[in-house]
Symmetry: D2
Subunit: 111 residues, 4 copies
């Protein structure tokens, strides 16, 4: 099922008109997310097989870390492309972009 | 596919001999994890459709939060059952259990 | 000022009637907190001397880590003493204690 | 002691030649940090007076949050000034700046 989904996304990516920073690493992102999806399915297996709670928690931490690391890569590309673009053009847009990025970082930090 | 998997896990849960604290809420845990799996698949869709980075980051934060909240529930049951059990029996086991739980919390905090 | 405060606390610790788990490591806790206080004062110096933002952020991360690590030690002692005590006594108190501890962990995780 | 330090910093801020983004809010930053320093001193008082562990943990969470929030403000100014500056000038510097900022964010997230 996952594979079919992945094929579908591959087929579409040629026709789309992506404008955002992360486009260049789209395939890498999708691969990462599929790996995380696999981790979450692995967690279901662990719960289903009554694996010891602490071992499940270790896996949850690994998945959380993988998600955070995906977020950081996305953020880096966003800063490199969208924010830098706004700065390049000058004007007031940079302030809005930086504020928006900071709010996203705050959500990641859950402050 | 997810549904079939879920059925399978339901069928097995009667024959297993679970000993851990989270057993009583096994179905709830599996439901939560399936929802998180759906969120991760949703993220793949967002990346595939070239959705704006910041909106993807918002979804990543939501998934991370859901995972942390799952971990907290697991931890609470672990403390209530496994750790409390060790304390009840007395002896040195409680120290080992508490140390183990604290290390799991530390991993969640990524300190 | 800090030193006087510290002396005061040393003098009182003999007369107090501490009941909580962390009592045994009170001196260590106070030492840790004084070190963190020093880090925060160091941060003020960095800001005052116009040190490069990224270097200040590195120091903020170190202080946050030190605080989290202090919290984990406190939590471990709490689980070892207060929660284990409640489990030992039996009855309904253990549920309340575990719920309270879990909520404290949730606040640390800022979920 | 703290007050003298604070006075010193006020006196110097007119003569210094600050170049970084956070300069404009230097006074606000110092005020924030002094408040956090006060919170850490408050924590020492709580430990010294044998206050209940959970209540101390609540205060630790508040201090951690205050530090994170300080970090976010610093980061926002850094993005607005230093990173935007690099983007404005063009060239390769923007990549280095963005990578550096992302690493700082990663440290804050403790990934």
């Amino acid at each position: 099922m996952t594979t079919i989904e992945a094929e579908g996304s591959g087929a579409e990516s040629g026709t789309a008109a992506p404008v955002h920073g992360y486009h260049h690493q789209k395939d890498e992102h999708l691969k990462r997310l599929r790996r995380i999806e696999g981790q979450i399915r692995g967690l279901q297996r662990l719960v289903d097989e009554d694996v010891y709670c602490i071992d499940i928690l270790t896996q949850v931490s690994a998945s959380t870390k993988a998600l955070q690391s995906f977020a950081l890569q996305l953020l880096e590309e966003h800063l490199r492309h969208c924010v830098a673009d706004a700065a390049h053009k000058g004007g007031a847009e940079i302030d809005a972009k930086v504020e928006e990025a900071t709010k996203a970082i705050a959500r990641l930090l859950r402050t």
